[in-house]
């Protein structure tokens, strides 16, 4: 007769759901390319109906269609030089990132792992903005008259990130405006290096009156919890000035007297996978401003990400300093250290 420590293991469930936390992580090297290029895949074992979409260049994500709070059941991300984009390893969380490292290193290219409900929940909160994006594309506008009882709740939701929150701002209007601009006034395509410091220095000194004039502007609603954390009003203004995109936030009334140094850092970037984060920097009267660029075609402008962190999450992690592919991260560190205090 066996004792309870034998014959253990979970009992058989023919129909796992994503919340059961069975996850397969694959690395698929690209054939005929340099060996360090490839794709990382994360797949949850589930029998629930799912839908997947490209959420940004090099990133595809799938979700359970009728779970408004579920984890990404499928993630496919480009890996170059043996590394994931920095923000992606953060979004994946420590346990999946550890398995991802194993399969990228090889020799085994696929591995199953088991997440507990807490880890699935963290993943779900981290990916909330992408989930809303994918599921919104999946379902037609909710005009079911019988549905009045339930009331749809379409508000932008913030995702959790390392000690902070982030949100995805969909630039439909901005995209149209950019596309409408005369060619000469089109989005300035900056190189990937060198621009950021200059912008920060420019903005540091400039009054609004000294900026180029606004060609066109609009605004995004920001989830209240994120605005609260950042100490800004729950909306973000975008302006096109001289062909470049300015992102402007106003401090919430209650925080205007707050010492600038204690404010959590708000960073903004186009979500094109390049992770070129710009810090929102206050001018003389406290208005926060950043200038962002994307290498993308203006007509296919990626969404904009706003990230608020209460800690210096961009600080180099132990042992990461000498790895290739970190240069952009170090660059961000520079910007943060220039933060006016």
């Amino acid at each position: 007769m066996t004792n309870p420590s034998d014959g253990g293991g979970p009992s058989l469930e023919l129909r796992p759901t994503a919340w059961d936390g069975y996850v397969r992580v694959d690395y698929i090297p690209e054939v005929g390319r340099r060996p360090e290029r490839g794709r990382l895949q994360v797949t949850f074992a589930t029998v629930e109906a799912t839908i997947a979409a490209d959420v940004r260049p090099g990133l595809r994500a799938g979700f359970v269609t009728d779970d408004p709070d579920g984890p990404p059941t499928f993630i496919q991300a480009s890996v170059s030089r043996g590394r994931l984009a920095d923000d992606l390893s953060e979004l994946l969380g420590a346990s999946i990132a550890a398995v991802a490292e194993q399969v990228v290193t090889g020799p085994g290219r696929s591995r199953w792992t088991r997440l507990n409900v807490g880890a699935v929940d963290s993943l779900s909160s981290a990916w909330a903005p992408y989930r809303d994006l994918v599921l919104a594309g999946a379902s037609p506008p909710d005009d079911d008259p019988d549905d009045g009882l339930d009331g749809p709740t379409p508000r932008p939701r913030a995702g959790t990130a390392d000690q902070g929150l982030w949100v995805l701002l969909v630039p439909d209007e901005l995209r149209r405006s950019m596309a409408d601009l005369p060619v000469s006034g089109g989005l300035a395509l900056l190189g990937s290096g060198g621009g950021e410091d200059r912008d920060d220095n420019d903005l540091d000194e400039l009054d609004e009156s000294e900026l180029p004039p606004v060609t066109v502007s609009g605004q995004w609603a920001v989830p209240p919890e994120l605005a609260e954390l950042a100490g800004i009003e729950p909306r973000l203004v975008w302006e096109i000035r001289a062909g470049r995109v300015h992102v402007v936030a106003r401090p919430a009334p209650s925080t205007t007297g707050q010492a600038v140094g204690t404010r959590p850092t708000a960073l903004v970037s186009f979500d094109d996978g390049a992770n070129r984060w710009q810090t929102l920097i206050p001018d003389a009267d406290g208005t926060l401003r950043a200038v962002i660029d994307s290498l993308a075609n203006p007509e296919r402008l990626p969404a904009v990400r706003l990230r608020v962190t209460t800690a210096d999450t961009n600080a180099p992690r132990p042992g990461s300093g000498d790895q290739p592919g970190r240069s952009r991260l170090h660059h961000d560190d520079e910007t943060e250290r220039h933060d006016p205090a």
Partner: protein
């Protein structure tokens, strides 16, 4: 010759019966008047077998001997009428050296020795794989069956190689630009699930050396489309073995076909031993007892609690006695294990003994059901100590269950079984420790609550996880938005740890300023919902705090706080529950019952 000691044979009979699924046991009991008569007949037949053999039966063959006295042919079951059949059966079981009892239970007289050997291999493989690998159990059991059917020299290595290769093939396939199977709601809504099965099917053929399509991904594509066809067929066919809701898809049928396909049945590589057959035997009864027939869950009439345990003397309410801890621990174990299968009892013991990982979804419905039964049994008016065995009048407790569900008096749970002894020992030690720390202050309910390990660290994520499980179990998945909040409502009602309860009232949660971290709910007009408790402040048990941590008894939700969570009015919450109840409910009905009026 001398016959084995009668007590020894009786104990073996109980051990064997305790491993039967409740449905199989019912069939056995239908042939006799009660459990005692069944055991008597088994022991008498076993003695006849010993006489016929004329040789002593070693101790380690006791279980096989008693199992051999039973026959389960077709729909009828009982003790062998002809001794010669029992003797044959015993000789056969004995010849399969060290066959696992759970496998011995599943074999039939017509089975070939090859099939029996493969079944035994597959059973052991599935146990081994579960302890060292992270695939979903359904994949592990299927590959254990397929690997066993190939009769490899090293089954563990073969199964591991198939699992690794299958995962890699599925990964490569999904990363390629090849077509994904279309969803066949709701059997398989996620195409990657089918691709994984197809990957395993190819890996089995490679292992067996019968992969006839040279390009592996071409083959996976072909296998995936075949699986898709079976999934669609399962959608339109009435289930022979319904899982959960009865008008659902033919889930069991689909997985049998999938096992057939994964196991390369059409090839000669398996020598006629069928993966499908092994998979079906290993999964037999599991789904039925876990989801379909839940009459045995949450079914504890406190008056009958002592049925499976030795005679209980009335206990004086003197809390400091060690005898009290022993008695209470035995009572808790008796209630928790009432009406369980052997596998279920192991899952409960795994939890009670603190070996189950916190915050995992495994066996949650089973554990919640038995915990609910325990709490109902411990519940009584007033703060006075009440032993489960004393509470003859607790039928009026609303937390208690349908009076039409008396505990099965024929419950064969053996108090001497290792899992029972271990649970009792661990609970006793914890109760003694509490009594030593706070003598005289704690009642039996507090002691039981404090002695049971956590099932989760936060309620919020568990509610979200349970809601998705409930959609599967209740057939609420798939298209259609009617009652779309019902799974969450049922989940919030069901997610109660030891000592926790929910009320069907309008009560609002306590002022969250007191020691709770809050989160915004869907209802912006409602106060933020308690999400996490900080500090040492403990709300009164009557205060509603959805964030109560483990071990803290009290009210965790009301209809009003569930409404706030989902942005529904109290009326809408009740309307959805009423609609569900009036429809007859489903497997989660009892777990969603409120605690008090």
């Amino acid at each position: 010759m001398t016959l084995p000691d009668r007590a020894r044979l009786e104990a073996a009979a109980r051990r064997v019966l305790a491993q039967f699924d409740p449905d199989d046991l019912d069939r056995l009991l239908a042939s006799v008047h009660g459990l005692d008569e069944l055991i008597d007949k088994m022991v008498a037949r076993a003695e006849d077998v010993c006489r016929a053999l004329g040789a002593p039966v070693p101790l380690e063959h006791d279980d096989l001997l008693l199992l051999a006295t039973l026959t389960r042919q077709g729909g009828s079951a009982g003790v062998h009428v002809k001794n010669v059949h029992a003797v044959e059966s015993f000789k056969r079981l004995r010849s399969m050296h060290g066959i696992a009892i759970p496998v011995a239970l599943r074999i039939r007289q017509t089975d070939s020795s090859q099939l029996v050997a493969a079944l035994d291999t597959a059973y052991r493989l599935s146990v081994d794989l579960a302890s060292v690998r992270d695939e979903p159990p359904v994949f592990q059991v299927m590959i254990a069956a397929a690997a066993a059917a190939l009769r490899p020299a090293d089954p563990v290595a073969a199964a591991a190689a198939i699992l690794d290769r299958g995962a890699e093939l599925a990964g490569s396939y999904c990363a390629s630009s090849r077509p994904l199977p279309g969803p066949a709601l709701p059997v398989l809504g996620d195409p990657h699930f089918l691709v994984q099965l197809a990957g395993y099917a190819r890996a089995v053929r490679e292992r067996a050396g019968v992969a006839q399509i040279p390009d592996p991904l071409d083959h996976v594509e072909k296998l995936a489309s075949e699986l898709e066809r079976w999934a669609r067929r399962a959608m339109t066919r009435a289930p022979r073995y319904p899982v959960g809701h009865t008008d659902g898809p033919d889930v069991v049928g689909f997985f049998s076909e999938a096992a057939s396909l994964v196991g390369a049945e059409s090839t000669a590589a398996t020598g006629g031993v069928m993966t499908r057959e092994i998979f079906q035997r290993l999964t037999h009864g599991l789904q039925a007892s876990r989801v379909g027939h839940d009459k045995r869950l949450v079914s504890t009439d406190p008056g009958d609690l002592a049925a499976g345990s030795p005679v209980v003397d009335p206990i004086e309410p003197v809390l400091e006695t060690l005898g009290y801890a022993t008695e209470l621990a035995a009572q808790i174990v008796a209630v928790l294990s009432a009406g369980t299968t052997y596998d279920e009892r192991l899952a409960i013991a795994w939890w009670v003994c603190g070996r189950r990982a916190v915050d995992q979804t495994d066996d949650l419905r089973l554990l919640l059901s038995h915990l609910r039964g325990l709490m109902a049994a411990l519940d009584g008016p007033g703060p006075s100590m009440r032993l489960p065995a004393d509470s003859a009048d607790s039928a009026d407790s609303v937390d208690s269950v349908d009076p039409a569900d008396p505990v099965d008096p024929a419950d064969p749970v053996d108090p001497g079984a290792p899992e029972i002894r271990l649970m009792t020992l661990i609970l006793r030690k914890k109760i003694e420790a509490q009594l030593a720390l706070e003598p005289g202050r704690l009642g039996s309910r507090d002691l039981a609550t404090g002695a049971l390990p956590p099932l989760w660290t936060a309620r919020g994520p568990i509610i979200r996880a349970l809601a998705q499980r409930i959609k599967q179990d209740e057939g609420m998945d798939g298209p259609g938005k009617q009652r779309r909040h019902l799974p969450r409502i049922l989940a919030a009602r069901a997610a109660r740890g030891p000592g926790q309860f929910v009320l069907a009232t309008n009560g609002a949660q306590h002022d969250p300023g007191k020691g709770c971290v809050t989160v915004h709910t869907a209802n912006f007009d409602a106060p933020p919902r308690c999400d996490e408790r900080v500090g040492r402040w403990e709300p009164d048990v009557s205060l509603i705090c959805p964030a109560r941590p483990w071990g803290e008894a009290g009210c965790v939700d009301s209809d009003a706080t569930i409404g706030d969570l989902l942005d529904l009015t109290v009326g809408a919450v009740r309307a959805q529950l009423t609609h569900y109840t009036n429809d007859g409910g489903g497997p989660w009905l009892k777990l969603a019952q409120p605690s008090r009026p």
